[in-house]
Amino acid sequence: MNPPKLTILTTDTDAACDPETGACAIPQTPIPSPGAPPVTGAVPPGMEETPSV
């Protein structure tokens, strides 16, 4: 596989981890109750609103 030219899709994401630091982040959203649909929100590239670990 060659280094691809990518189109980054803007999607609902609710968690991501940074391969440079090992830090993970989540958006500032309520904790869902079991059985509830996954919480959604903007994460990468807009991880500014998230608490970084």
């Binding site: 596989m1 991501a16 981890c17 989540i26 869902p32 509830a36 996954p38 990468p44 590239p45």
Partner: protein, 213 residues
Amino acid sequence: MLHIDIWADFACPACYLAKPRIDQAIAASGHADAITVTYRSLELFPDAGPEPFDSFEHVLHKFGGDQAQAARLEEHMAALARAQGQPYAIHHPVASSFDAHRMLHLAAEHGAASEFMDAVQRDLLGEGVNVYTAAYLAKAATRAGVPAARAKALLAGDEYANAVRADTKLAREAGVTAVPFTILGGRLAIPGAATANAYADAITQALTTGDPQ
């Protein structure tokens, strides 16, 4: 045909959340037979040694020792996992996952990469099991479908070490800044753990617009 590349690490909670969503999106696409997946290696803790440390201590360190903030993040991660039927161990061991990634490549050779990824992530992030030992990796690989002798031979040598490094190099070249990092058809990318619906939409888009690979 559509090929999906997923960069992930076993110790990556977001990757653990994303895995069943991607599986679900593929299954629901109506084109599962036309979709292939490659799990690519990207160590979240490339400098970690063989001796495990507590993941929560790492989180706590990143929060400057703020116990409440660290606990809040981990409780949220646990809630996200539980909401989709996955257990989550707030305290799980972190160590070098290099050998686990080598084993992942061997599992792929035997068509068992998905099963191996599922099992190791569930044991590590769901149950807090030390998955970094040779004994564990051999057992998990064998259960996933890798011949025991092949798993044992891999752990005795450096097979697939270059493949793990090549995946990491490719991730850098592709500009991977968040894991999981999913590339559909070599051109559409989703950084982070998206919803199952978002993965489904991306699969539809990739199938509709064709796969240049």
